[in-house]
Amino acid sequence: MTDINPDFIELDKQMSDRELDSSPIELLEKIKQEGRVWDELSEEYGVDNPDPPWRISLEATCDGLAGGYWAPFNICLPEEERQPVMADDNKIDSNERRWEEDKLVDQHYADVPFPERQLLALAHTMIRRGMISEDELAKHMKAVDERLHMADGLDD
């Protein structure tokens, strides 16, 4: 019987050798502690949808970051039709992202339900890889929050 997938062992070795910084990130810790998860909101408001409305968007972001949009590994296509591969520092390989997600969830986000934990782990990975900074993420979140609340208090 297969016990541990050899690909996993290889991936685990590669990723462990990279010694990625998995220390907590203050901004994400704050969201973890103060953010209201979908399970809580949907119960309070009586909404049936088991997933938050942003789940598919998050999946699409993960696929986009994997470089999948450019079909770099598309073995279904003839070689001449394949799109250029993104530079390595501009993408997050799906297997690596999932490996890091498992590790980060285990270390920091075990008490957060899915898919909120997937989102926190993705942001964590992007910050630690230097793709975005904690500071710019905090600033952009503030801008998004203000934008989403622009209509508050206005008459319909």
Binding site: M1, T2, D3, I4, N5, D7, F8, L11, D12, I31, E34, G35, R36, V37, W38, L41, E44, Y45, G46, V47, D51, P52, P53, W54, I56, S57, E59, A60, T61, D63, G64, L65, G68, Y69, A71, F73, N74, I75, C76, L77, Q83, N90, K91, N95, R98, D102, D106, F114, L119, L120, A123, M126, M131, I132, L137, H140, M141, V144, L148, H149
Partner: protein, 236 residues
């Protein structure tokens, strides 16, 4: 009263009337990625639209058709990608060809159960899943707990899903990977004689297609699963 007013006489559906930090975080991460040119808004929109169309219905239809047509069942087992065309899923030529992870659309394998052989699908590496024909993977499928334990103690884990198999039924755990995705073609249950394809498709739930449940007349939805952390996951 305008016709528009008449249309809104029913009580409004409940909505979540507040913005959560997680919603804001998802938007911020996505917009920053787009700002930095990691992908485009157009690509994201296109992929999101496509993903919203996905679900387990085509795979359930495939199984129902296979139950009714032995020739089609042969095609399913021999060439899952070809069989998928009959349920409207073109793994090679539709939108996914240009999007997503390539293994989503290159090799679908349909694992046929028999009365003495039960297949169950896992991805021990991460969470590979046949999204074009089955939609998004459930939370428990992604967890290290399921991924590590199903290959070691399949009978016990299936029992936790409520599926208790006799000792003389062999359980075969199949591992999805970068090259192949799998669905299970379960045994048609007793009590479905004379049923139409539509009736049969209704009882083939997502969990039946992953292999952690078997179809039963009257059961048309998956049970809610508690998600437990792995007590002793690999190297942790």
């Amino acid at each position: 009263m305008s016709s528009n007013d008449k249309e809104h006489l029913h009580p409004p559906a409940p909505v979540v009337d507040e913005v959560s930090d997680f919603e804001v975080l998802e938007i911020a991460v996505r917009e920053l990625a787009i700002e930095k040119g990691l992908f485009t808004q157009e690509d994201h929109n296109q992929w999101t639209d496509y993903m919203h169309t996905l679900g387990p219905a085509p795979a359930a239809r495939l199984v129902a058709k296979a139950w009714l047509d032995p020739e089609y069942k042969k095609v399913c087992v021999e060439d899952g990608v070809k069989a998928s065309l009959d349920v409207g899923i073109d793994w090679v030529n539709t939108m996914p060809t240009k999007f997503g992870t390539p293994s989503d659309y290159c090799n679908l394998r349909v694992m046929e159960d028999t009365p003495t052989l039960k297949h169950v699908v896992v991805c021990t590496l991460c969470s590979c899943y046949p999204r074009p024909i089955l939609g998004q993977s459930p939370e428990w499928y992604r967890t290290p707990n399921y991924r590590r334990r199903i290959v070691r103690w399949p009978r016990q884990v299936l029992a936790e899903f409520g599926l208790q198999l006799p000792e003389d039924v062999e359980i075969r755990v199949v591992d999805s990977n970068q090259k192949s995705r799998m669905i299970v073609l379960p045994v048609r249950p007793e009590g479905t004689e004379g049923w139409t394809e539509d009736q049969l498709a209704e009882i083939v739930t997502r969990d039946c297609l992953i292999g952690v449940a078997v179809p039963k007349p009257g059961v048309t939805a998956n049970g809610k699963r508690p998600v437990r952390p792995a007590v002793n996951p690999y190297k942790h």
